[in-house]
Symmetry: C2
DNA sequence: CGGTTAATTGAACGCATTCAACACGAGTGG
DNA sequence: CCACTCGTGTTGAATGCGTTCAATTAACCG
């Protein structure tokens, strides 16, 4: 039932079965290497994408070179759902990726299926909600809270003991509206307070969930 | 044709005819007085709304009282398109308003009309794009640039010589992720540079479009 | 091992905030 | 018409958070 689906946490929700199925049938699976670009800012919007393996990042760059990371996408996530005609964001593979791609036109032609349209709408709505949370984070949170919220969201996605950070500090900074130095300082600070622990640069685990939650909202 | 429609500037685009028509047929027109609440954060998502007259603001407040304004809506705009089950934002009338309201269920029942679903999807997509622009503004722009971008967007909406500001300084600040004092300082600064002029607190016009554009991107 | 990139740390700076005082405008009543 | 008040906006001075610039350290990879 589609309604119950919409109640899910937008961070972890998965696209509706109808959509997944159609994409598998009509689309192509492609692989991208680490740091490869999937589409560029300004490209025509031609495809819909579902990430099967790996992690990707969307970002946009202003005329004078400032970069804003839109979001990070994990296996199961749809991305590239832009208004078009051309991409406002670029998408790059953070790790080696497998991506199911399907032409928009193919999906549209196959439609008439109201359930399919609904699934795309649901995916767009979840995207909207995530972006709105991002707005709150950028507009009204301190550096410490931003970094805490970011680690929290990763830890929620990946419930394993040790959470992997597929992105570097610069990506985190550009997502959070901070500099790498500030991100780094906040990470060591959170570690100093024994709230999280970093066995290596790209790996951490939460030690005090409650303290982290209090920082986040 | 729906495709051409999606190419429009999301700030000024209007909902597709199909949707407008259905909302008029099935909905009710209600009036709200200045400062009245249309729905509250946490309320069930029951309706879709189209603003007929006036200006409204959506906002959300964190547990510790920090406020983030989501957006401002003008006549013709759809709002309240949230993921549900309950509103993450509240909506308040900035001026006396007339609002066309229609139950989600009514729209859904009337559907089967693929065009209708498409129209809602389009509206959601435009909303998404606006929020994404908001992210860029909050994450990577200085106070001066934020205020300039805000005035710019208002001036584009309202092509008349004198643009009215339906919102107060606090609303602007909470939209831009700043304090009222900073907003005020930037306004006087932009006025000092003869880029804009304020004949009164709630009214301005652009004097140097080019200088303003350069500040915005 | 070096050589290279990424991350951390330190110190000085600057933009936006905070706290406080002041100005302005609208509304009310004498 | 003026005096008073209240809400809203502006301005000033001091503080502080995050940035900037620079140096150092750590990880990765041949």
């Amino acid at each position: 039932m589609t309604l119950a689906y919409s109640l899910d946490d937008p961070r972890t929700a998965r696209p509706a079965a109808a959509l997944t199925e159609v994409m598998d049938r009509l689309g192509t699976k492609m692989t991208f290497a680490r740091d490869e670009e999937i589409y560029a800012q300004g490209d025509d919007v031609e495809f819909m994408y579902r990430l099967a393996k790996g992690v990707i990042r969307t970002s946009r760059v202003t005329a004078d070179g400032r970069r804003q990371v839109g979001d990070f996408y994990y296996p199961g996530d749809l991305f590239g759902l832009e208004v078009g005609p051309d991409h406002q964001f670029s998408a790059e593979a953070l790790t080696d990726c497998e991506i199911q791609m399907v032409r928009r036109g193919s999906v549209r032609a196959f439609a008439g299926d109201a359930e399919l349209d609904r699934a795309i709408l649901e995916a767009t709505r979840r995207e909207l909600q995530r972006v709105q949370d991002h707005v709150l984070l950028l507009g009204r949170k301190s550096a410490r809270e931003k970094v805490a919220a970011f680690l929290m969201s990763l830890a929620q996605r990946d419930p394993s003991a040790d959470v992997e950070l597929p992105m570097g500090r610069q990506d985190m900074a550009d997502y959070l509206g901070l500099t790498i130095e500030t991100v780094s300082r906040m990470l060591t600070q959170l570690q100093g307070d024994a709230i999280v622990e970093f066995p290596s640069f790209r790996r951490f685990h939460v030690k005090k969930w409650q303290a982290l939650e209090e920082l986040v909202d």
